[in-house]
Amino acid sequence: MTGVATLTVILVLAPLIAIFGYLVYRGIGSINWAFLTQTPKPVGEPGGGMANAIVGSAFILTIASVVGVPLGIGAGIYLAEFGRNRFGDSIRFTADVLNGVPSIVIGIVAYSIVVLQQRHFSALAGGVALAIMMIPTISRTTEEMLLLVPQALREAAYGLGIPRWRTALSITLRTATSGVLTGVMLAFARVAGETAPLLFTAFGNQFWNLRTDQPTAALPLQIFSYAISPYDEWHRQAWAGALVLIVLIVSAVAAVRFAVRRGSFGTP
């Protein structure tokens, strides 16, 4: 039976290694300077790149973080400091439920609350969709990290006459900074590769755009539309885009792991 269990591990790891290996192989073969600095060329013309999509993704993610991170951390603080009751439980449960909502459904909601009001696809709508996905994740991880901070630390602060809000922000949150950041980065990495909620919110764009009320290109969207196209040149670029995306995501996650390991945040 040990053999069977080992076999399952091999069966599971094989496709994963295959995916990574093939991604790196095709990606490195297709990536070049033009890919990183130019906008897409029309069909049939060789060259061109996804520079606008890389910047567009960063733009949409910035909007998402500006909206989602403070709300998520605030909700996490509430759950940790004031939420040890029935009401807190209901918020916790709602956050878990929101986490399981398919991303495409979040896209529909962002479409109807932003796109239908603005009357066109926009970077803002994409950012809102991603923010909605970030909030529940960040709030739950922030809560967990704040609860790890020893109660004695809070009591010491109260004993010095520091008001509760100041304690929560400058003592508890400060102590848990690296843990909270980990949660934020994980949420960020998760939404960075999201395609479905951007399909009818950010929509994609062949050109540069840095206005919040205009359709904006995003790396995952560009990978999707190039992957299902019939052109070899575009397939090549889809692989290059996938490599750039995965490198960005993995380096974000790895940076956080590294920072947390070195950080001053001791688990009590």
């Binding site: 605030g74 040890r84 399981g100 459904v105 909601v109 922000l169």
Partner: protein, 347 residues
Amino acid sequence: MADPALKSPHMPGPQPVEKNTLRPVPTSQTAAPPLLSTSRYEIGDPIFKLAVLACALTILALLGLIVYELMFRSAMSWHAFGFKFFVGSNWDPVQEQFGALPFIYGTLVSSLLALLMAVPLAVGVAVFTTEMCPPILRGPLSFFTELLAAIPSVIYGLWAIFVLVPILRTYVQPFLARTLGWTSLFQGPPYGYGMLAAGIILAIMIVPIISSITREVLTAVPRHQREAALALGATRWEMIRVAVLRNGRAGIVGAVILGLGRALGETMAVTMVIGNRPEIAKSLFAPGYTMASVLANEFSEATGDVYLSALIEIGLALFLVTIVVNALARFLLWTVTRGQSMRANLA
């Protein structure tokens, strides 16, 4: 958490202490006269509590908003087709006739197919990592699982188009047709694209989720259960079966259902390989369509209010199904871990 500590008789209440030590505590607005800052201290806490409460309420509001928007915007389709929407199999945007059965069928079949393949593998991996993995391997293995969860689904789809589908088309499907063709599940031309490809890519995607949660469930099984089984003379495998798997049963089912919830809502990878044809076919080789992929493909091009409303109704159905599935999974996991914080929300 802080409440009981404040109210306990050993701890001084916050108010009197604050008044005694007003001056030494620096604030960002040191220019303000001390008397004013007295009042600021007193209103600081309520304001802070209100602010973070507002953030927490956003979560409730978001769920409410999702439900409201989906119901409000799908009302037109609901009025036009009623319950027939979910049993009709004619999807004709030109005639404005909408029946969602092919999509529901496609979603269910592809997800169940994925579970069929993923569950034995995922449980096997979890058992391996908790019970028999050499400690040196445990770290890399869990890091790898974490990495897998971070791969965007569009990249799984990309890989499926260029690697999985050709392999299925040239090797797997002809082989299956030869050996199992008589079951009528594996008949028809081997396109590569189709239900089978969707099921396999979904399985690859949900294995890490199911196995990482199962691993946590198995780790939560008390050590003395294992020791008792071993003391009674059980072999290692019998111990795993009797003590570990049986005790973690509810949690494993929870993990599987969570994986199901993930598979039901998965959009991009499935859209890229399932073939996108709204038909109900018996063969797993045939192209299909799922609820999520019809949204991905047709939503931004939907012309006409009824069409859009019908698509949103599919979104509503998908939403309700995943809510029920996830709630069930959370409940099962909660009975195992007794409200212990699960990292499941990160998966």
